[in-house]
């Protein structure tokens, strides 16, 4: 453990090592390939069987009219091309689900990032005592099962629940969170942030620890305020970390499913239906083709968003 802790990340791309290796051994590439595939073989075998193959099947399903009635004879279905995909965008519920997912992502990701960064900074340099304790406690929601969490949060969000009791202390009369189409999504976002901010928090913590303190101190000595020093020194150096956090959050937030599933069933008035929830429902209706198509729309969205984030953060870095 201690060895690993003292180990500073060395940014050395594997490609820089290649010439040396090549000169050492002429037939190296073939041998390396054999060795590498040997190392990968257990993974590849399992991954190809239980990972790639089902994806291939479901991708095929998305261009057919397969339903649950065809499960015993899956090969006698019709090829419908992209009909499922066009049908999706003709369905107002799907469009609503897509917009909801966008809402959730657009508000949820920045909120999670700001909060996790703030807590990370506080734990990193704001306090000296009980750091480990706080770190564990703030991380705890990540490891809890959603079912247990849902029961508790439903009680918290009741019109006379704990959240509104707290609000009434400061003179705000809180809404009926889960029954009000305007407040149901904010309620789920809050819950999602609570559940998810632990992982970005520790990633930011690690990022902060790898920034040499001297840089920041130099800025403060030069007369910059602490806030300015944070903005002009710390934040830019955190950019690679921020990229990783943003991508990890995009992957998990775009698949927004568990919160509406256990809390609102997508309601009220479809205000919390997400693409994943829509796909789940369509699977439930037995419309396997349409459901698969919805899933792949989501996959495309995740890929595009990740690419966009790469562009943004890489370009500025």
């Amino acid at each position: 453990m201690t060895t690993a802790t003292s180990l500073k990340p060395v940014r050395e791309k594997s490609s820089t090592r290649q010439p040396a290796q090549r000169s050492r051994r002429g037939s190296g590439r073939l041998r390396r390939t054999v060795v590498a595939w040997a190392f990968c073989s257990p993974f590849v075998l399992l991954f190809a069987t239980f990972g790639i193959w089902p994806v291939f099947s479901s991708l095929s399903m998305s261009v057919t009219d397969i339903t649950s009635r065809d499960v015993r004879t899956p090969f006698s279905v019709n090829f419908v091309g992209l009909e499922n995909y066009t049908a999706l965008f003709d369905d107002p519920t799907f469009v609503r689900a897509a917009l909801n997912t966008l809402y959730f992502v657009a508000v949820g990701i920045p909120l999670t990032m700001v909060l996790s960064l703030a807590v990370a900074v506080a734990l990193n340099s704001g306090i000296q005592r009980a750091k480990g304790f706080f770190r564990v406690a703030y991380f705890a929601p990540v490891v809890t099962s959603i079912v247990a969490v849902a029961v508790v949060w439903r009680y918290l969000y009741k019109p006379d629940g704990m959240i509104n009791s707290v609000l009434s202390v400061v003179g705000i009369s809180g809404p009926d969170w889960l029954n009000d189409p305007h407040w149901s999504m904010p309620a789920l976002i809050l819950m999602a942030v609570w559940r998810h901010f632990g992982i970005p928090m520790v990633i930011f913590l690690a990022g902060l620890q790898s920034i040499p303190p001297e840089l920041h101190e130099a800025a403060v000595v030069d007369g910059a305020s602490r806030w300015r020093a944070f903005r002009s020194v710390t934040l830019p150096l955190l950019r690679p970390t921020t990229l990783v956090v943003a991508i990890l959050l995009s992957i998990s937030y775009l698949q927004f499913f568990e919160e509406p599933f256990v809390m609102t069933s997508g309601g009220p008035l479809d205000s919390t239906t997400s693409i994943s929830y829509y796909a789940y429902q369509q699977f439930g209706f037995g419309n396997y083709g349409l459901a698969s198509a919805a899933s792949y729309v989501l996959v495309t969205a995740i890929a595009l968003l990740s690419l966009l984030q790469f562009r943004i953060f890489r370009a500025r870095a």
Binding site: S68, S76, F79, R154, D176, N179, L269, G284
Partner: protein, 430 residues
């Protein structure tokens, strides 16, 4: 992993690639299951593997032990499975053709399972269909065939605060006309809401279709090929449902999760609710036995223009086409539908017998609360038995929510329901 399994997997893989190349549906593809040979009267033999959900699954082995006495060579092996996502389990089992012999299914799900072709039709002469409650028997049919045998039935009746009604000097409403005044009288006794109604949560339709039925609506045409939601009767039902909200008798934000309404009923903030036979146990849990004895009244639903129909649910027994012991499974199911076995099961589980004759003796005959359920069962109806119902009912739930929340008129909601339901259709053309 045996060779045959492996080769099956590989062949499956090759065949799936053909999907991309595009093979079509053959016209002859039958959707239902064929009717099997009749079942003899000789005792059952061999191991009979059955699935049953939840409490039913936990208690069934006790009943099954009695089956063994009459059929010493047979052994019923019960696997208890959770209600949660059980449909997925049944569907995937059918998909993989790796099934037990028989399974209990929720009455509302039978059509979907039958449409996969994974279930066998009930053999001719196994049971007398007319011995069951009409609504229960109705929900075992799909596409002209019968795929299940009703086991237990449940239906929704009116639970109200007897103490508040006595204090207000009113008795349970018999008709729609008395409904509103009755509930408002309870509200005057301090209840914030008169009646709890579903307002868009999943399966809200089970609480709202009865209003349409009571007004005389039939939601499908006679041969079950088209939905008919755009009728004056259906509109009358939906308008009546809406009236509870506009008169502030029911909250527009009904319970979202199970178990949410009971504490409000116990606290007296909601004076009445519509629920099934399981409700008594839930109310005991939330308010104690004395509360149920002293303060809870039970009555059949008030009658509309045509009837006082309620929704019928319950459990049916089905046999898989890939059953290894089909003969034994059907014999077990036939035994389960005998009136005295039905009575025994009621003793064990509290489930209400689906066989009418079982009600003619003992507690089932004498208990006043059970009498209410018995009376309600006679007129109770299931949802339409078409494969697309799950999808259509989701549309219903969404539109019901709009009416409940006051963002749509009943008329506009019904028009959308009719349009969407027609677009979804009633399943594959027959």
């Amino acid at each position: 992993m045996s060779t045959s399994h492996l080769s099956k997997a590989i062949i499956g893989g090759l065949a799936a690639t053909l999907v991309l190349a595009g093979c079509g549906r053959s016209d002859t593809q039958g959707s239902g299951g064929a009717k099997g040979a009749p079942i003899s009267d000789s005792p059952a033999k061999g191991e009979i593997n059955v699935w049953a959900m939840g409490t039913e699954g936990e208690r069934l082995p006790e009943l099954a032990a009695r089956f063994r006495k009459a059929n010493p060579d047979a052994k019923v092996k019960v696997t208890a499975i959770p209600w949660q996502d059980y449909a997925k389990k049944v569907e995937t089992a059918i998909a993989s053709q790796d099934t037990p012999d028989a399974t209990l299914v929720g009455s509302a799900d039978l059509t979907n399972f039958a449409s996969t072709g994974g279930l066998e039709q009930v053999p001719a002469g196994l049971v007398d269909t007319s011995s069951f409650y009409r609504g229960a028997a109705q929900s075992t049919t799909y596409d002209g065939g019968t795929y299940g045998v009703p086991w237990y039935a449940d239906t929704r009746v009116l639970f109200y605060r007897k103490d508040l009604a006595q204090a207000a000097g009113v008795s349970a409403p018999k008709t729609w006309k008395e409904y509103g005044p009755f509930l408002r009288a309870l509200q005057k006794q301090g209840a914030k809401w008169g009646l709890a109604l579903p307002t868009g949560v999943a399966a809200s339709w089970q609480g709202v279709l009865p209003f349409m039925w009571q007004a005389g609506a039939r939601l499908m045409n006679d041969n079950g090929t088209e939905f008919t939601f755009d009728t004056p009767q259906a509109l009358a039902g939906l308008e009546f449902y809406q009236s509870f909200f506009t008169s502030k008798t029911a909250t527009r934000n009904g319970a979202v999760s199970l178990g949410e309404i009971e504490p409000q009923f116990v606290a007296g903030s909601t004076a009445a609710l519509i629920s099934g036979p399981w409700e008594t146990a839930l109310l005991k849990g939330a308010g104690g036995a004395d509360f149920v004895k002293d303060k809870v009244g039970v009555a059949t639903l008030p009658k509309g223009a045509t009837s006082n129909a309620s929704f019928i649910g319950g459990g049916h027994w089905t046999v898989f086409k890939k059953a290894k012991n089909r003969d034994g499974a059907w014999k077990f199911i036939r035994w389960l539908s005998e009136p005295d076995v039905q009575q025994d099961w009621h003793e064990l589980s509290g489930d209400l017998p689906a066989v009418q004759a079982a009600w003619d003796e003992g507690k089932l005959k004498s208990d006043p609360t059970l009498a209410v359920f018995r009376s309600q069962l006679r007129s109770a109806l299931p949802g339409p038995t078409v494969t697309t119902w799950k999808q259509v009912s989701a549309v219903l739930d969404a539109e019901i929510e709009k009416v409940a929340k006051g963002v749509s008129s009943p008329k506009a909601a019904l028009e959308r329901i009719q349009a969407k339901a027609s677009a979804i259709g009633t399943g594959p053309t027959r």
